[in-house]
Symmetry: C7
Subunit: 76 residues, 7 copies
Amino acid sequence: MSSGVKPMNVLAKLRNSRVKIRLKNNAEYSGVIVSCDTYMNLLLDDAEEYRDGEPKVNYGRIFIRGSNILYISFEA
Amino acid sequence: MSSGVKPMNVLAKLRNSRVKIRLKNNAEYSGVIVSCDTYMNLLLDDAEEYRDGEPKVNYGRIFIRGSNILYISFEA
Amino acid sequence: MSSGVKPMNVLAKLRNSRVKIRLKNNAEYSGVIVSCDTYMNLLLDDAEEYRDGEPKVNYGRIFIRGSNILYISFEA
Amino acid sequence: MSSGVKPMNVLAKLRNSRVKIRLKNNAEYSGVIVSCDTYMNLLLDDAEEYRDGEPKVNYGRIFIRGSNILYISFEA
Amino acid sequence: MSSGVKPMNVLAKLRNSRVKIRLKNNAEYSGVIVSCDTYMNLLLDDAEEYRDGEPKVNYGRIFIRGSNILYISFEA
Amino acid sequence: MSSGVKPMNVLAKLRNSRVKIRLKNNAEYSGVIVSCDTYMNLLLDDAEEYRDGEPKVNYGRIFIRGSNILYISFEA
Amino acid sequence: MSSGVKPMNVLAKLRNSRVKIRLKNNAEYSGVIVSCDTYMNLLLDDAEEYRDGEPKVNYGRIFIRGSNILYISFEA
């Protein structure tokens, strides 16, 4: 909680972890991070789109453009 | 799933693969990637526009400006 | 389909070809490309604005600011 | 039509010509170009604002910020 | 009308002149330019906010962030 | 009124002055400037949020991201 | 109140402090800052999403993209 590790470095360590992502258009996605880069572009596996909190669409692999991300939540 | 290949490199390898693309205006497109660049600009062949999940408009070839892309989904 | 020519280079080769362009405000235009640049700014001749798929307004020549372009469709 | 003169250079040659400009907020203006720069900032004389295709407001001189421009139409 | 002085230079010469400014949120302001910079940031004196063409709110001095400006109109 | 001091320099001199700020989402804030930087980021003390011209929410200290600012008004 | 410490430096000192954050989509979050960077990206612990002033969703850890932040409020 007080480690002070830079946010982008924490993101880089989330590989293979399941995260939830909200985009600027308020759509929400869940998936396992395959990789990310310094633009916050994300490659997710086993991705699902949520609507009103319920999973609705399953994707194989999904590439999310980092500039559209509002936030990424995950287990600490 | 744990290869850690950078997202843009994965995108570059999708040439000749069919992908689905959602843009910031929430329009959805399907097509075969002819080429892409580091701005995420995409050239698609055999492109279709989807509305409410149904293909509606067929395009020959389509050039999509990368800055408008929300995400790209594809088979792993 | 598998040439891998970069998207912007393909765009540069469309001079004298008729294309359809959709802008971020969802307006649609058709015209013959006179020239383009690396910002995707386009100069079109014999341009028409479409509404609901029908041509509505004729322009002489039109300069389109590249940053507003969603996509450009054309015959392969 | 096939000169290939870069779009910005064509714009620079429109000094003293009357053009129509549509901005991102969909407002439309007509005026005579006094000068422009590489950001597409425009100085117009004898400018009018159009609403629903009709001239509504007259301005003396108007400075338009280039980043808001959708397109500029003019006689070839 | 044909001087070709660059738009930003014309703006810099408007010090002590009254201008009208429209922002991206379509609000309109009138004021006397105290100073401006290359980002189009403006410092205005004796500023008024207009609604539906009528002055509504008086400000002492107002600093307007240039990136929000649609256009600036003024007497030639 | 004719000093010509650059807008950002005027902003820097407003430390300890009470200002009103309008953001791009049209929310309005009042507060005393603690400090600012060249991105127009502001730290305000004794900040209040206004709705329909009335103070509604009191904040201790508030950090406002400069890129969201429409304008800052203050006593000359 | 008159220290003049730059806004970003004040933000950097808020580690382990609870803050409230409003994003451009007007969503509001509360959480304890784990770390931040110069893009204003924030890592929050014990994060909650607020709707109409009431906590609604609990997150473990949340990464907020700095470019979406309107403001951050906190105890002085």
